[in-house]
């Protein structure tokens, strides 16, 4: 009787600990082996055959297709440079230069990876479209209300994330964070 109770207890603990740890790792956890520059993070290995088991599980669970390393690399930002989560009700400015790449795109998604509805049907910019200063740097205002210049509408959603994808770029598995310059993400105003 005691043995049976003990076994059941141990199995219960095993299920709780095991499944709980998997759930936490795949929903809350940050993947390792990342390349972090300011508020931006990328995982170059996720686009190769040497992707780790945790990342494989995360990719399978979310349903996305990682950008292949021969194609490019995706950097994502969930918070600004001060660490505050990106809030669609605030005015946020993405400014500066991007690393070397033939093309890049910046896109705004909700946390589930869907585009956000807005009145002008703009979901991002390509390196071709964005209006730049004479020195090649650019400034994109991410805000719920229209702004002059490069305006990326948030649709007023509470949480969003920005994905900056570089295509045909030398940045990859061997790149270190300090070799890369990424645009700054600063909060201008918040109601």
């Amino acid at each position: 009787m005691r043995l049976l109770l003990g076994t059941l207890f141990a199995l219960g603990v095993a299920a709780l600990v095991g499944l709980g740890a998997t759930w936490l790792a795949l929903t809350q956890g940050q993947a390792f082996g990342g390349l972090s520059v300011g508020a931006w993070s990328a995982w170059p290995r996720h686009g190769t055959a040497s992707i780790d088991p945790y990342a494989r599980a995360m990719v399978a669970r979310s349903g996305q297709l990682p950008v292949g390393s021969g194609d490019g690399i995706a950097f994502q930002a969930r918070h600004d440079d001060s660490g505050a989560l990106l809030d669609g009700r605030c005015d946020i400015v993405v400014s500066g230069m991007t690393p070397q790449a033939r093309y890049w795109t910046i896109t705004l998604y909700d946390p589930d990876g869907a585009l956000v509805a807005n009145s002008v049907q703009r979901h991002g910019f390509t390196s071709h479209e964005v209006v730049r200063r004479a020195n090649g740097s650019f400034e994109i205002t991410v805000s719920p209300r229209s702004r002059a210049g490069n305006w990326l509408p948030t649709g007023g959603v509470e949480r969003y994330l920005l994905v900056l994808r570089l295509y045909d770029t030398p940045i990859g598995v061997a790149t270190r964070g300090r070799e890369v310059t990424m645009p700054a993400i600063t909060r201008r105003s918040c109601p």
Binding site: V13, A14, A21, L65, D71, T105, G124
Partner: protein, 180 residues
């Protein structure tokens, strides 16, 4: 008391095994991964355009809306596959994913170096079965080895501005993915 602690310890150790097991098995058990999502819309060994993502619907999450996209869901059971796509004016890339969505190979138009990206997809065994003299001329051919029998070829063409989207989509309609 000690007995309970021992059972607890045993449970936690077993929990560690359960955790590793579920993480390793999850890709095989997932029903909402990218391959499964594309299964109903993409016929086997044929190129199908993928509808551009909108706020209401997206076949696969986190698609880049600046790209026209098409997919070939392949099955190499009956032999290797020949794939070709003419490059679009801006930027074209071809990415290969296994059944479990691992991006094992990707190539872009510049790396291909021609007006048409042309390659052959086969498993390691099928490559081994190639006649010897064909191997000599293989320097001219781009052969991609698939680690799995089934998987996805994702073809993307960039529209640098929204007005160029039809041109990008047209470039993809000429993509071919045929067996034999």
């Amino acid at each position: 008391m000690i007995r309970i602690a021992l059972w607890l310890l045993g449970g936690v150790l077993l929990g560690g095994i359960v955790h590793l097991g579920t993480v390793l098995w999850l890709p095989d058990l997932a029903t909402q991964d990218a391959y499964s999502r594309l299964l109903p819309v993409a016929p086997v060994n044929a190129v199908t355009p993928v509808t551009a993502p909108t706020p209401e619907s997206s076949v696969v999450p986190f698609l880049d809306p600046a790209f026209a996209m098409a997919v070939c869901r392949y099955d190499l059971t009956n032999g290797p596959l020949k794939f070709s796509v003419p490059v679009s004016p801006a930027y074209t890339s071809v990415s290969f994913y296994t059944r479990n969505d691992v991006a094992y190979y990707a190539i872009n138009d510049r790396a291909a170096g021609r007006r048409v990206i042309e390659l052959e997809l086969m498993t390691t065994e099928q490559r081994g079965d190639l006649p010897g003299d064909e191997e000599v001329t293989a320097a001219d051919r781009l052969i991609v080895e698939s680690p799995t029998l089934t998987g996805l070829i994702v073809i993307k063409a960039l529209a640098p501005e929204p007005g160029l989207m039809p041109a990008a989509q047209t470039a993809l309609t000429a993509a071919k993915c045929v067996q034999g």
